[in-house]
Symmetry: D2
Subunit: 350 residues, 4 copies
């Protein structure tokens, strides 16, 4: 029996409407490298949705790629990234940022994986006013956050605004990794909009890979100085897709009639059904999450039983030896699979 995967949100292909569109346009001829009408249209749709008529919008293929390409485009050799310890760039991207020459200044964070404006200010103050002359350490210049965070948490509008302000005040760039942005913005617990993202960050990404596309990450750049030469960065970093229209077509589809948000909202709802069932069955949350990823502590026998039919993602081992798992829905999660898992959770808990 093939197990049902709830381990992550990139186990299936793409939303059917995307495949239809790829199929119907397949033999059209267009120029390459993102200079085709589909990309143009997709860029316009994203600018409109983000209420950011002057933002640069660039389409890349993957998450690690967009992260290091953006960061490298913002920094001089002696400049560094402030990042929560659990940040994806700090722990799951094989040192891609350092491979471009930049140190990551990892700041301790709680289970939510968030960075506070106060922490950012502290790093800046320590650098410029600490006991060591600043030039003996790297200069903090860019703040990296994820929305939602690695652990599914969301920055509130107030928190984002504070981060924005501390960055403005200190001449820092604010970059938000939105690999799962759709699940964040469409959460009923979010008070942040796409327009807020564009307004409060210098760069943010609109993740496609995990939100209904075959692949694709859009970088939305509010800061003209970063946008100006960004196409060089695309090419130099292997991020300029030859048949760029494949990205344009996918984003165009998702940003037509709000598909990006509706498919993500459904995934969050499925995740909440699972969360409620797990709680009702007496299992403990590892960290509360308002998005499509849920994190629960499962006793070993329960996990063993469930793992015969389902795949979860091992997440952490607590000091007392208990284990936490990620249970993840996506735009492709089927009702029937959620139903089945809920039933099995109830049985396992008995």
């Amino acid at each position: 029996m093939i197990p049902i995967r709830f381990d992550c949100d990139y186990t299936e292909g793409a939303h059917p409407r995307i495949l239809e569109k790829l199929l119907s346009t397949n033999l059209e001829q267009t120029p390459g490298y993102g200079m085709d009408p589909y990309c143009e249209h997709a860029r316009a749709l994203i600018r409109e949705a983000a209420d950011a008529p002057n933002a640069g919008v660039h389409f890349l293929v993957g998450g690690t790629q967009v992260n290091y390409t953006v960061i490298r485009s913002c920094l001089m050799a002696h400049q560094a990234v402030i990042c929560p310890t659990t940040g994806h760039i700090n722990v799951h991207e094989t040192g891609a940022v350092e491979a471009t020459g930049h140190k990551i200044l990892a700041v301790p964070c709680g289970p939510e994986g968030k960075l506070t404006a106060r922490q950012v200010e502290q790093v800046v103050n320590d650098h410029f006013h600490g006991p060591t002359p600043p030039e003996h350490t790297v200069q903090p210049k860019l703040v990296y956050i994820s929305q939602p965070t690695e652990n599914g948490a969301l920055y509130s509008l107030a928190e984002l605004t504070s981060l924005h302000e501390v960055c403005q005040k200190n001449g820092l760039y604010l970059f938000a990794d939105g690999a799962r942005l759709g699940y964040g913005l469409s959460s009923p617990l979010s008070d942040v909009t796409l327009a807020d993202m564009a307004r409060l960050t210098d760069v943010f990404t609109v993740g496609g890979t995990k939100c209904g596309m075959l692949f694709g990450e859009a970088a939305v750049i509010s800061k003209p100085a970063i946008d100006r030469d960004f196409r060089y960065a695309l090419k130099q970093n292997g991020a300029m897709l030859a048949k760029g229209r494949l990205l344009g077509i996918q984003y165009e589809t998702l940003f037509t009639e709000g598909l990006y948000f509706s498919v993500c909202r459904m995934a969050v709802e499925q995740a909440f059904r699972l969360r409620d069932a797990l709680k009702a069955a007496g299992f403990q949350e590892y960290a509360p999450s308002p998005t499509n990823q849920q994190f629960f502590i499962l006793p070993d026998p329960v996990f063993e039983t469930l793992s015969k039919k389902y795949v979860f993602s091992g997440w952490d081992t607590l000091p007392d030896g208990r284990k936490a798992y990620r249970i993840c829905t996506s735009w492709a999660t089927k009702d029937e699979n959620v139903d089945a898992l809920i039933a099995d959770i109830r049985t396992a808990a008995e």
Copy 2:
């Protein structure tokens, strides 16, 4: 009227069989990052086709990406690449190789864009036995060639064998960029096979983007020392596709029943039809090409007339002011379009 594009070989989507397969597998759930059964199968098919049972096969997304990722994985900081002046990495990849820290030693080449074993030996001798102590200059360590070259030419089996031997003798890696490999191997004028490529190089690529796929480049690595940690390189360089099966499915399709070769052979035949028509009409070849790219010198009035209906690629301006163009077919080129262009060539020449 939308012009018919003969400017390059990546203007359409993918071969219909690929799209069918993507569609029929779309809602399957598989693990990510190239660890799925489709990738496994595709790797096996390529190893079999290349008669290289122990080669590493890795799937990447794009050409610039695969080039710098392979090169970076072969070299220490003080080592350099020997490359013909016209090599793609030297002129059309925004310094991606240098951006990873390595100098390119560009060697002058003729209009064919080929490097000779003798030239390689010369670079090595100049380095180790020239007037400058070797450590004051970068150490040549990897030879980069393209098969076919930028200008559509092909290394013969004898030439490849000589390059292989000079590399072996001097401790150099031989890396062949096969972005258009299908068009090369399927040319009636080629005496080189996929197995020769695997046997004579340390790494070569099997280009997908230009040969019938939506995107994709396969790196085939004969040298175990390069293969061993190559998955780290994939991840660090943003080249590990999350939904890796998309690459597996595409390569599996192309390497089933020799589709890769048959679609490319048709494109070469179409190119030959155009070449013959151009020659018959009295136009002069810029450089003879046995593959899907043809290079011709066209008088300005002829180009102007043709460019109302067709797109070619401007290639070079000769010392006497005449202009050369690239006319390119692909797996997707339609008979009717070739017929139309041939007719228009004849008319234009009158």
Copy 3:
């Protein structure tokens, strides 16, 4: 009044014998880049002193320079450095290691600034056998330690041997930064010899700048694979001094009649006199140090009084607000200045 500096060990020029030798050889003509007879002789003297007849010995100018040049020469792009959190490369070299593309995996350490073999093993196990596939994180490949550590502590022979063994077992390089090695080896509390350093590490440095020279760090490389092309690394990293003999002359002088060790031993003795006086006066050690750097907690009024005549180095602020200082002697420390400080310590404590 010019204050007397005890803040670090690089406030004066060089040992008089070095200046004499520079003067007497000044107008000789020699080839450059470290290929002169003085460098040859100095290399031989160091090999002999380290009982390492086959080691490569290279002379560089500064500490940051030698650290990143060595590290860069050991690692491929995806490989990383294991380092205690307080390691100099992690906190005081402006991200020089990351600027060459390599992540530092900082491991928490106590006030001594030491790394244990067990910690190294843990990092390796977490990487290769943790929940994340190894290729999603950087591969640990080199262990960086300092002897003495940043906080003046010393690895015992047993500790060094354990580190050596864990590195051997796991295919890691062991690199010891010996910027203050002379002060370590000549401490009466050290059971480690220069020959142990050569035997137990793959590379270590013999610091000159802080141990009696105008400038200079010698890299002693036991591993032939690292040594082979190291002169390329010297040149590429701006570390190959044109008038290389200046380094040869200095090392030759220090390694003649054991001058390197005798000048350092005197500095350690002066440091111990200060330590004893501080303890006798009732001040508390921040961390015990068997070398020329002493770390003490001083009440604010005491510091204020002493800082009118002396310069110390601010080191840390404790959780309770008390402040720790570094008080440092060197090969150039004058008896009279130590006497004066001791007297003032006694007075200040009354």
Copy 4:
């Protein structure tokens, strides 16, 4: 018999006045890293001599180091250096510039080793207005020249002014490598002053190593944006000397009473004596040089005879097989050695 070296200008130590000053200040205590009064004074002297009261002046150790550190500080990842083919950074620095991630766009030059404003303009035009979209190639951003060039030639004030203007017009930085600047400025054939260098470049260096110092290169930065964080670059690139005053003392000495210029002028005069003797003896110049390096074609028997007593530097082999040599004087060249060589030239020519 020890041969007399005329192969380069870094075979001796330092001007006696420098050694005296190092000796007399040896046991003074100063803060490190270039923050001492000697460096302050030396900076002021250089600013004054260059009539550049607001320029940043930084002291580094070596030539390769200062070149790549400056270049890295000027460029973003996708930007490149325009450089004549014979430029030192292109051929004799082990790819140090590429090792920091930047491609060098080498422009063909004649035997003088000069770049023209017209060539610069051509590179810029080809990039921004050529057939390839600019982002597929690196963006030219900095022009690197040497004054004097590798082959001893000098840019005239008119030529420098043209380069300055073309850089200003196109938003390029102009960087002049002055490793032998003293020999250039003090040549009777130069119409360029130190103030011209500061006024017409964004950064230039005042070479010390070859002009009377033990070591040292001063970077003079007119552009505030490059100067602002340059101390980070010093530290990150291993170029911030711990005992920085050693550089301050040396530059202070050379820029007191015009010593820098007078010692260099004497070397040029000696070179002219040799040049005149060689010409009078009927030997042919390889390339005329107005500075301390002279380049002559010598018949093999002549070279063999002279090389029993003298060391020259092999420079080039002409198409007809004849060989060119560099014969070099310096601040340390002795009258008696020049006399002896002149006599031997005459004899050899008979």
